[in-house]
């Protein structure tokens, strides 16, 4: 309050209280100055998830997980800006641009699906903002080049899951495999991955059929699969629409083994599928069978803790692995933000975003709900063998496969 503002319009002869007016004029400026110093100490996390559209069963639990994330860390407040991209890559890119240029976020969380996350790569790289994706494909973070150095992801790679799946198939002695999958990017991804791994496990994919998520009947596809008489059938689908082929296979008298992918891990799937799912195998993150893990497994404590927190907020039995993937993003930020703050960079600046990226890349031995994460310059996913288990559906629940 010691500087005197030049004020040529104030004629002391006409305005005896000129000095007081000058004081009042300075107050808003002072207030703004104070507020802006407070604002720079706030970290902004931009979130774009698919809470509507075909991937809503992934996005809604992830958004619930974001709602549970703490609002302060290391004395700095965090603001979450959550947007919906309706499972559409164009909208995801629009949201990312809006978050980065209008809201000036320090990190972007999202999106829930692979096509959306891939579309966002260019935008985050161009604006040098770190991105933590919650989608499954390896291609989002591999190879770590100039664009992907800014991108990290929390779910196990689909390649990871397919390796476990194909290994299980090979170990069980299955040779002829049939696949019924979605006719979209998800189904295509699974089919391609299994195709790559099949020769290694001496599996022979004899028949591949597709169906649409909203189909009312898959009789034709199932008849085609049955005609090939495979030892095992993989249903490459996610969410409750995966029940339809399983039910039709059982109705048509299929006696072989049914496999699912990790996209079905939610309790609505069990509810809708009922007895038709009995005995099916699928690869999954350890969080769904946390109770059965060995006590010495560090993942057990984190997984059970998150399960309790999530179910307290959203109801018993609401836990699913997508919410856990969302939560893992917070665990990563919890480790990386203090590291970035310690470098002295202020949130909202490019230096802070670069420091945050370095902090994320430097994560070592972080125990998350799905696995133990070790990031490196060449691996922006960080999970190892401990991050996936084979699960069997027995008596309408998920159990660890023996």
């Amino acid at each position: 309050m010691t500087a005197r503002l030049p004020n040529p319009n104030l004629n002391p002869a006409l305005n005896p209280r000129a000095s007081t007016t000058r004081l009042w004029r300075m107050l808003p400026v002072a207030a703004l100055a104070l507020a802006s110093t407070l604002a720079t100490a706030q970290i902004k996390v931009g979130v774009t998830l698919s809470t509507t559209g075909p991937a809503a069963s992934l996005g809604i639990p992830e958004r619930n997980a974001v709602a549970l994330m703490p609002r302060t860390i290391a004395g700095v407040s965090i603001e979450y800006i959550v947007l919906d991209d309706a499972s559409d890559p164009v909208k995801a890119v629009q949201n990312t641009r809006k978050l980065i240029s209008d809201d000036k976020v320090d990190v972007v969380l999202g999106s829930s699906t692979t096509p959306n996350s891939l579309a966002m790569l260019d935008v985050v790289a161009e604006n040098k903002t770190p991105q933590i994706s919650i989608a499954s494909s390896l291609r989002i973070v591999d190879p770590v080049d100039a664009k992907r150095m800014w991108v990290f992801k929390t779910p196990q790679n689909d390649a990871h899951m397919m390796t476990a799946l194909s290994q299980h198939m090979g170990d069980q002695g299955f040779r002829k495999i049939g696949i019924i999958g979605f006719n979209d990017a998800y189904g295509e991804g699974v089919i391609t991955e299994l195709g790559k791994l099949a020769p290694i496990r001496r599996l022979d994919v004899t028949v591949v059929e597709r169906y649409a998520r909203t189909d009312t009947s898959v009789t034709g596809q199932v008849l085609k699969v049955l005609a090939a008489n495979p030892d095992a059938v993989l249903i490459a689908a996610s969410g409750t629409p995966a029940v339809l082929p399983a039910r039709t296979l059982k109705e048509r008298g299929y006696k072989g083994q049914i496999y699912f992918t990790d996209g079905v891990v939610n309790n609505d799937f069990l509810r809708v599928g009922g007895k038709d799912l009995e005995g099916a195998f699928l690869p999954a993150g350890p969080v769904v069978v946390a109770k059965e893990l060995a006590d010495s497994n560090p993942i057990k404590k984190v997984a059970l803790g998150f399960t309790k927190m999530y179910e307290d907020a959203n109801g018993a039995g609401s836990m699913n692995s997508f919410a856990a993937h969302g939560w893992n993003a917070w665990l990563m930020l919890e480790r990386a933000i203090p590291v970035a703050l310690k470098t002295g960079a202020k949130p909202g600046t490019e230096a802070f975003r670069a420091a945050l990226r370095d902090g994320l890349e430097g994560i070592r031995e972080l125990v998350t709900t799905h696995g133990v994460m070790n990031m490196s310059k060449t691996d922006h996913m960080g999970f190892d063998q401990r991050a996936r288990v084979m699960v069997q559906i027995k008596n309408g629940t998920w159990t660890l496969a023996k």
Partner: protein, 347 residues
């Protein structure tokens, strides 16, 4: 492909074709009476199945609140009109249909005794919950623009479809449900397995079509609807109000769509988005009938069902493409053989 596989596929195609036929009829009905291409009919299919599922799970269906909400909006419009006209005539009747009836149905649907009282009661409750929403939507969205062109009405229809999708997601969540089958009976005829549920679908569809034919041919209201479909201004001149005809058409389309949903619920998992594609395939069937005649629409819908079943066997990756490409030759043939009376000409 041998005879038994062909037989199984034919059976499957006829079952789904029967459901598409019900939708095709409702689309033709609404279009001929009101010139609206009723895309939200698909949403009613999904809501019908999900309401049944909610009742069977022992929960009050959220669609009852949805209908109540619509009723409140319609009543507000009626009250405004009454205030402007300075007379409360008809306001009591409006309150009865738009407020008291949905409220009563909501209360009934939350009673556990009725929720568990058997399939017929559940179907009746589902119809009571959803059918009134049809005329209410007509009153709210289409009646104000009833004189507009078909294109404008189509745009309103598509907008309504998106709005209902959002409402469906909020009401039912992203995951789907199945309903319990009407019957678990199964008969084996040779290699073909006939399930009681599929038979029930075909028989009820036939019964619904028969009832509709009787309604149009024998009752005064049915004939009035047919008159409006043939020539709207002429029907108005002889005392058949277009608004009343529109509401009736929407109500009947609602009955047919909700019924389809109830029939298809046990066969496949329905979730909030499933209705759109089912409605669209019914629309393809209706297009084959030229959006004018019922028998052709039913035949077209059956054809769609059969083609879908067979192409899901031969080329499952291209099934959707094949089914929707059916429209192209049909439209081409129709426009080449059309005798040139423009729909937009003054009647």
């Amino acid at each position: 492909m041998d005879a038994s596989i062909a037989a199984i596929l034919t059976l499957d195609g006829i079952t789904t074709g029967a459901v598409y036929a019900l939708l095709a009829i409702s689309l033709v009905l609404v279009f001929t009476v009101t010139r609206v291409i009723y895309i939200p009919a698909g949403e009613f299919v999904a809501f019908g199945a999900l309401t049944m599922a909610a009742l069977q799970a022992g929960r009050a269906p959220p669609t009852a609140l949805f209908t109540l909400g619509l009723g409140v909006m319609v009543f507000a419009l009626d009250a405004l009109a009454a205030v402007r006209a300075g007379s409360a005539r008809g306001l009591l009747r409006s309150a009865g249909w738009n407020l008291v009836f949905p409220l009563a149905v909501w209360w009934l649907a939350s009673l556990p005794a009725l929720q568990q009282a058997g399939q017929l009661v559940q179907v009746a409750l589902t119809l009571a919950v959803l059918v009134p929403a049809g005329p209410m939507l007509y009153r709210l969205c289409f009646a104000p623009v009833q004189q507009a062109s078909v294109l404008t009405l189509l745009i309103v229809s598509v907008a309504l479809h998106f709005a209902l999708l959002g409402v469906g997601l909020v009401m039912f969540g992203a995951e789907g449900s199945r309903t319990l089958p009407l019957t678990d009976a199964r008969w084996a005829i040779g290699a073909v397995q006939l399930s009681g549920q599929n038979l029930a679908v075909v028989l009820t569809s036939l019964a619904a079509m028969g009832a509709l034919a009787a309604f149009f041919g024998r009752t005064l209201t049915g004939k009035a609807l047919r008159a409006t479909a043939v020539n709207r201004i002429g029907a108005q001149l002889v005392g058949i109000g277009p608004a009343r005809a529109g509401r009736l058409a929407f109500a009947m389309a609602g009955v047919l769509s909700v019924f389809s949903g109830v029939l298809i619920g046990p066969i496949t998992t329905i979730y909030y988005e499933s209705g759109f594609l089912i409605g669209l395939k019914g629309f393809v069937g209706a297009i084959i009938g030229g959006l004018a005649g019922y028998p052709l629409a039913v035949a077209g819908a059956l054809l769609v069902g059969l083609i879908e079943a067979f192409s899901s066997f031969w080329a499952s990756a291209y099934k959707e493409v094949i089914v929707f490409s059916l429209i192209v030759p049909v439209l081409a043939w129709r426009s080449l053989t059309h005798r040139g009376m423009d729909e937009e000409d003054p009647e």
